[in-house]
């Protein structure tokens, strides 16, 4: 059934029965809700191995913000070997203060796991593998018991500035000419 395409009449009948069922039977309604929830994220099913292009504009915008507030590109473009730790340290204060401002103002970032690093953690079956990475002695079936090595970070909210249509995002920092 799952692969075949049902006819219109079949679908009409099913829709009617589903309608009556949802109204009359709370358990059935809950099952439909779950089904709808699950298929929403997955449909249409992607071709295996399909990749998507990320939009470079947001990446460029973020680089520009890090540069504007924290001079990150200036910092990374330089060779640090020739400078003393004190000189690098002075520059890092600029980078740190500015980039941190960007992180705080344009994102809401929170740890994936709120426990202290080093705390005992149990990964139950069905844990979110995209947010939690088990490492080391990874054998058998969950639940896995281990300790938290890194709390992880999740961008809970992204509040990047909106860009004007046609804005050239490839200019990360304009050249400055003092007149």
């Amino acid at each position: 059934m799952s692969d075949s395409k049902p006819s219109l009449f079949f679908r009409l009948g099913l829709a009617f029965r589903a309608f009556v069922g949802i109204l009359g039977d709370p358990t059935f309604a809950a099952a439909v809700w779950r089904l709808r929830h699950e298929t929403q994220g997955a449909a249409p099913a992607p071709a295996p191995g399909a990749l998507q292009d990320t939009n470079p504009d947001s990446a460029l915008q973020l680089l520009a913000l890090f540069q504007r507030h924290g001079r990150l590109i200036d910092f990374l473009q330089e060779e640090v070997a020739q400078y003393s730790d004190a000189e690098v340290g002075a520059a890092v204060r600029v980078v740190h203060e500015g980039c941190r401002k960007v992180l705080r103002e344009d994102f809401v970032i929170e740890p994936v796991l709120a426990e202290h690093e080093g705390a005992a953690i149990t990964l139950n079956p069905g844990f979110d593998a995209s947010a939690i990475r088990p490492t080391g002695n990874l054998v058998g079936e969950p639940p896995f018991n281990g300790s938290l090595a890194h709390c992880g970070w999740r961008a809970k909210e992204v509040k990047l500035p909106k860009l004007a249509v046609g804005h050239d995002a490839t200019v990360l920092a304009p050249a400055e000419v003092e007149l």
Binding site: Y83, A90, A91, K159, A164, H167, E176
Partner: protein
């Protein structure tokens, strides 16, 4: 007009604007749903961000300076100016195109406030704008931003409140009111900022404020903004069994604020670098000011830290080699900010020179003494008699007290995020009180020091609708016109001037003063100017009273006012006898009219007179 859905409060500040609103449909008694509107603005060319504060800066870019579309806002394209964050940032690097502190210019009687005079140091080809126009543009930006976000509840249909310094004179109040009307804020009510801060405190207490104050309390509101210091005294009275708040006094307009402290620190650190042989260019000096502000906030916020590094990044792309590192020490902050701006002085201390509206000055009349504690001492001493006539305050002051004894303090303004500064001001105040055997003040805990004025104004819009406590008080000054004495001319001496009271102290909104018996002869078709005076201490002068002598401490000159009789119905050159009558409008501005005795015709007398 449709019933307003929201009460909107706008803080039109010297350095920042903010907008807060109350959803009137979602309020119950003193529990109100209050929000701060996040204001979309350009933060870099072509990039729009929503922030709580809109920096009160306006930048006039060169036609070739920005790419097309760089100044587009969600609601408008093709603007020839920028307001907000981008304006401040661009303007820091190209000050000849930056309009800043427009509000301070708006209350500067020495300049024509409708004339294009800003940026003050503009190059010839820059089209200057007036302080009035700058205010219109800040307000218009807020209006457009609001309307874009609330297409079904346009700003002009809401209950609007705009805040002004308590020290604004009638001309500056009227200009603000007119700017609001021109920016599409019909009937916006004006509210004094210290009152707004107190409303914010009332709102934040969720009804608990009644337990924190009692009848007989004198609340001293100290509002220290980025560029100005604004003072008010508000007393707690009882009326028909309920607590009532009365604003009994306001301070002078003092151009002194948090920005002065950052500049002073940058100067100190700059000198230190200069002694080591490093000289900073203007770009680096600005970066240093920014760094000092940050370091100051750390040192004043955390008593544990003793040294905070300050770095001045290189201008060019070589960040690592070109960055200067220095530090700000606790000793320097203590010396410069605590001792410089908040010195421990006695109650008898006075500022070196009183900040007066200098009528001949061309620049802004900045306070000449940076010591805020001295300004506080002078204010309390001038207002010693502020509560003398109030019921229940008979014992508030002992015989021979040197200054008015406040019982509670409410701080406002970002500067007071620092517990050290709060502590210092309290210690100084309590020292004065102790010297006169009075109890120390209580500290009223306010809310967000940056947004309290906007949120208080929104709450006031709600209160005006009938719910909750209102602060009363009326005008905080009595007003006078200058008339020349009739006496024989003495060569080389200007005839002595008398002050005729036209508006008594404490006129409430929507009231009219009595008609003074004195007549003035106005020449039809010719504008006539009067000197105009105000007093924040003479509470008993009635309309029509003549003063032959007064001290500069009691009565201050505010600027000139102008009456001009149109020629209709009269012969040009004819002299018509008129009376001057004052009224306070519902929105909180003073109005002065010239009335003819027989025909009942009346004309508005202008407060905002072109100088020259």
């Amino acid at each position: 007009m449709t019933e307003p859905r929201y009460a909107i409060g706008v803080d039109l500040g010297t350095t920042h604007c903010a907008l807060a609103y109350v959803d009137l449909a979602d309020c119950e008694g003193e529990a109100v749903s209050l929000r701060v509107f996040r204001i979309p603005q350009l933060t870099s060319p072509g990039s729009v961000e929503e922030l709580n504060l809109l920096p009160s800066f306006l930048y006039l870019p060169h036609p070739q300076e920005l790419a097309p579309g760089d100044l587009s806002l969600p609601w408008a394209g093709g603007l020839k100016w920028v307001v907000g964050s981008l304006a401040r940032e661009r303007g820091a690097q190209t000050p000849i195109r930056l309009v800043a502190s427009a509000k301070s210019w708006l209350c500067h009687p020495g300049v024509d406030r409708r004339a294009p005079i800003l940026p003050a140091e503009a190059a010839q080809e820059v089209t200057q704008i007036s302080p009035f126009e700058a205010s219109v543009r800040y307000l218009a930006h807020l209006r457009d931003a609001w309307n874009h976000a609330h297409p079904h509840a346009p700003l002009e249909d809401q209950a609007l409140t705009i805040t002004i310094p308590a020290s604004f004179d009638p001309a500056a109040r009227e200009l603000t009111s007119e700017a609001a009307a021109q920016a599409g804020y019909p009937e916006a009510t004006l509210l004094e900022e210290p009152q707004s801060a107190l409303y914010s405190w009332i709102q934040g207490s969720g009804g608990g404020w009644r337990d924190q104050v009692e009848v007989g309390d004198i609340i001293f509101v100290i509002d220290l903004g980025g560029g100005t210091t604004d003072l008010s005294l508000i007393v707690v009275l009882e009326h028909a069994g309920a607590l009532e708040l009365h604003r009994v006094a306001v301070g002078d307009h003092i151009l002194l604020g948090g920005d002065n402290m950052d500049l002073a620190l940058a100067h100190v650190v700059g000198q230190k670098l200069a002694q080591q042989g490093t000289h900073l260019d203007p770009w680096q000096l600005r970066a240093l000011t920014h760094g000092c502000r940050h370091a100051k906030e750390i040192l004043l916020g955390d008593p544990e830290s003793d040294v905070v590094p300050v770095v001045v990044p290189s201008r060019g792309s070589h960040l690592i080699g070109g960055t200067l590192r220095t530090e700000l020490t606790r000793a320097e902050v203590t010396e410069t900010v605590l001792e410089g701006f908040f010195p421990r002085v006695g109650a008898a201390a006075r500022p070196a020179a009183r900040p007066r509206a200098g009528l001949t000055q061309l620049g802004l009349p900045y306070a000449q003494d940076a010591a805020i504690t001295r300004h506080l001492a002078a204010f309390l001493a001038r207002q010693t008699a502020a509560t003398a006539d109030l019921q229940g305050f008979a014992k508030a002051l002992p015989e021979g007290a040197g200054f008015l004894h406040p019982t509670a303090v409410l701080f406002n303004g970002g500067v007071f995020k620092s517990p050290l500064l709060v502590e210092r001001v309290l210690a100084v105040l309590n020292g004065w009180l102790e010297s006169e055997h009075a109890a120390p003040v209580r500290l009223l805990q306010g809310g967000d020091l940056d947004l309290a004025v906007a949120t208080g104004a929104a709450y006031y819009g709600y209160v005006r609708g009938g719910e909750g406590v209102r602060i009363r008080g009326g005008t905080a000054q009595a007003y006078y016109v200058g008339v020349e004495s009739a006496m024989p001319a003495v060569p080389g001496m200007a005839p002595p001037i008398q002050a005729l009271c036209v508006a008594p102290f404490g006129m409430e909104e929507g009231t009219e003063a009595a008609l003074p018996p004195q007549e003035f002869g106005l020449i039809v078709g010719e504008p006539v100017r009067f000197r105009f005076f105000g007093s924040s201490v003479r509470r008993h002068d009635q309309v029509g009273m003549h003063l032959e002598q007064w001290s500069e401490d009691d009565i201050q000159e505010l600027g000139e006012i102008e009456a001009s009789l149109p020629a209709e119905g009269h012969t040009p050159g004819e002299i018509v006898p008129v009376h001057l009558r004052a009224a306070v409008t519902e929105t909180g501005t003073l109005r002065l009219e010239a009335l003819t005795q027989d025909s009942g015709d009346h004309w508005k007398v202008e407060f905002d007179v072109r100088s020259g």
